[in-house]
Subunit: 484 residues, 2 copies
């Protein structure tokens, strides 16, 4: 690879690092407002990382960046890496006393919208730190939607793309379209967050909690300002509102963007939306029935907690309303299976995502037909669209790579001394960016604060792998990528 | 499908049912010899199922059977189903008091060479029943190798085939070759069993135990005549001999057949053999080191038990020398991962098998290269041979179908009330035909005798699915298969 690519990639990543450093002034102001001495930590981190970024930007200034696939892959990996490290600095320096592995984990968990936390005692944590965590979620959410809308389709990693659905719009210039769509998206994202915060506030959260939880909800992040997560508020209406916004945020943003920009609602017919909402409903009703019939919970409570919990996992948010480990073995199995599933593409949700399951199921059917009639033509469709062989391959590669990495990761966690349920659920929840694990340590009633550093580094890598759709990272790890 | 296919398939399956009924006279003689009254059960079962089979054969007699793919798929499914039901009858009627679900489970577990048992108190079980279990393993082993050698390649399910490796031999007539190879295979299978039995006897097993365990070892079955499995004999030499024969039996029989028939050893270069032996060695040494360093076990003991346990799971035999649940969390994770892996194709071993992992890893690499250079040619190879797109597809279909069925099956077990470890390991051990699960109920120190009937039926289906390489069964469940 030629040097221009490195230089340009580092330059762009450093610019983003600079913006993120400036954002640290927000938690600094919050700490100042609440009179917490940690405002100095944020001010110092902003100066430190800001000047480091500025120097890097200046040192790598050059001509216009080259645009090709290698540059795309390199830049995406570098961006998430730089942002993770910059984001970690305030955690490392702050009064919450995290070592570097813990600070990096918390930052990666924030920016990847995973929401696993190593901070125990959130209820008494400095307000600036809590805001910084929410901000990382919120910005990470914008980043991942932008990546899904504009970059992944070009890199051919994400499978289906917004632009493919929109291939009829060839009249406009692509760049003008990107600007229009980005504006529409950020506007929608802000409006959703504000609406969610206002309703949370109306239902009894104080202003600070409402804003933080709204950012965490819309980004399908999962960080909370309380150790008991949403269970702290002990309010069924709040659970229903969270359920609504988590579910909305796991639908493709393209639906809302197209509605705002063009007044069109036809992308609502996207098969992944139907499939996602179907499996959400089926799992939630199964959990409700189990809660009602096995545990004798009042039906309206069972319904609220089940829909909340299932949509929290499927949207890959990871909020908890209760310790569902205690609900029964069936719920544990269901939560575990749901951890892999995920939401829709083009949203802030992670996991395998509904469209991949559609393609996998249709491919299996076509493959079985081919075994019966080897010479017949057996096409694979997504809705009405034909899925070409390259997209099928990418989906299968993603699925197998995901399962292999999960297996190896779980084995490594086992070697670090953790039991199988903790190991397997930690890797799965990190890869899917859900954030809540299973078992007594990292389950809904626990957190990641007791994990050793090697496990935290491993899980940080898993969160980044999952967030960048795995293949994007694996590509950069092949020798071929670095040749020439 | 036309009626001739049904008629012929039923006719052939009934003939095989007749042979299996006649085989019941062996345990009848054994019970007579030991003076156990259950000889009547076997005699009765032989008469009952023998005459039923005979009537069916007579009623479905017709012209020569049509040979096409539909017939192949139908026949394979029907054969394993009929043999499972016929094999269950003696268990159902015998003095060990099994209900039908349990009897069917034990029979399916035998014929699929899974080796999970619902019979607690094997040490005092009637000798005829013990012999019947071993015989089902032994015959099931012959059946599956024959299927892999002659039928699966034709149905294009197994991926790689013995005949493809042998495509240079076009001078002979295929049928003559099938007869030669079948003779060679059965001869090798008998010689291996006798050798294994003689060595077991030499090392201290009584004649009855030696013969039963030899049949179980060579078939990579796992049924034992003692609740403590091979741990009963408390002998490291016996563990090493079992390790040797289990490993040998998970190598492709084609290697030995070609050596006997033609004096050729070049198929030893088959990449799956190297990969299989490599991961066996790596996992066994990892387990030995863990045992030595974490638990302070003497090195020669750690080595013997670790190699035995790892090769027992990877060869999908499922013998136990010890309750390895107690060795530590890392070993539990390792045993769980190994449950999926399996041996080589063309053997009696189940699981995903080494050649599939080779193809998957090479496909992932090629897929990543394609993401970097979308217009380049990125081939997938197995050793030196090119793997065509259809074989790649079948391997990915198998992998995804396997994981999906495992997930759904585990959820169903959860709904039946079992904990996640029991559920997930039960389905995995059944799908891979290993036989040993994890956790207190079905782990190496337990058995399947306390499972409810719905779970036993589900696991019986899983064992058959796994044994017939999943796709063979799924094909028959598609609507397209039954059209026309
Ligand atoms: K999350
Ligand atoms: K077995």
């Amino acid at each position: 690879m030629n040097a221009t690519i490195y230089q340009s990639a580092i330059n762009i990543a450093a610019k983003v690092g600079l913006y993120l450093s400036l954002t640290m002034l927000i938690p600094a102001l919050v700490d100042l407002y609440f009179g917490h001495p940690d405002w100095k930590v944020f001010a110092l981190s902003a100066c430190l990382m800001g000047s480091l970024s500025l120097v890097t930007v200046a040192a790598t200034q050059g001509g216009p960046p080259p645009f090709n696939r290698k540059m795309g892959f390199l830049l995406v990996n570098l961006l998430w890496l730089v942002v993770s490290i910059v984001g970690a600095v305030p955690f490392w320096l702050s009064s919450v006393n995290l070592d570097f592995a813990e600070a990096l984990f918390e930052s990666v968990s924030g920016i990847t919208t995973t929401g696993s936390t190593v901070i125990a005692g959130l209820d008494n944590a400095p307000p600036g730190i809590l805001v910084w965590r929410s901000l990382l979620h919120w910005l990470g959410g914008i980043g991942i939607v932008a990546l899904g809308l504009f970059v992944m389709p070009y890199l051919r990693v994400g499978g289906l793309s917004f632009f493919k659905m929109e291939s009829s719009d060839t009249t406009e210039k692509p760049f003008a379209r990107i600007v229009t769509y980005t504006r529409a998206f950020v506007l929608i994202y802000i409006v959703m967050t504000v609406t969610c915060a206002v309703i949370y506030g109306y239902l009894g959260m104080n202003r600070f909690d409402a804003i933080n939880h709204a950012m965490s909800t819309i980004a399908t992040g999962g960080f909370s300002t309380h150790d008991a997560s949403l269970g702290y508020f002990n309010s069924l209406p709040i659970l229903w509102v969270a359920t609504f916004f988590m579910t909305l945020s796991s639908l493709p943003f393209s639906v809302l963007i197209l509605f705002i920009v063009r007044g069109r609602l036809d992308t609502l017919k996207d098969p992944q939306i139907i499939v996602f909402l179907s499996y959400l409903t089926v799992l939630a009703i199964a959990a409700s029935l189990f809660q009602r019939l096995e545990n004798g919970v009042a039906f309206h409570e069972a319904l609220a907690h089940s829909f909340f919990t299932v949509s929290s996992i499927l949207s890959t948010t990871g909020f908890a309303s209760d310790d569902y480990m205690l609900w029964g073995d069936f719920i544990v199995a269901l939560a575990f299976a749901a951890t892999f599933m995920g939401g829709c593409s083009g949203s802030t949700a992670g996991g395998m995502k509904a469209y991949r399951f559609i393609i996998i199921f249709n491919s299996i059917r076509a493959g079985l037909y081919k075994l019966i009639y080897p010479n017949g033509i057996h096409t694979v469709r997504y809705g009405k669209a034909l899925v070409d062989i390259d997209v099928q391959r990418t989906v299968f590669l993603f699925f197998t790579a995901y399962m292999m990495i999960w297996a190896f990761g779980s084995l490594a966690m086992g070697a670090f001394g953790y039991d199988l349920l903790t190991s397997a659920s930690a890797i799965a929840t990190a890869l899917s960016n859900v954030g809540a694990g299973l078992g007594p340590i990292i389950g809904p009633a626990g957190n990641f604060s007791t994990l050793h550093d090697p496990a935290l580094y491993l899980l940080s890598i898993m969160m980044l792998l999952g967030r960048l759709e795995i293949l994007t990272v694996l590509v950069v790890l092949t020798p071929l990528f670095w040749k020439e």
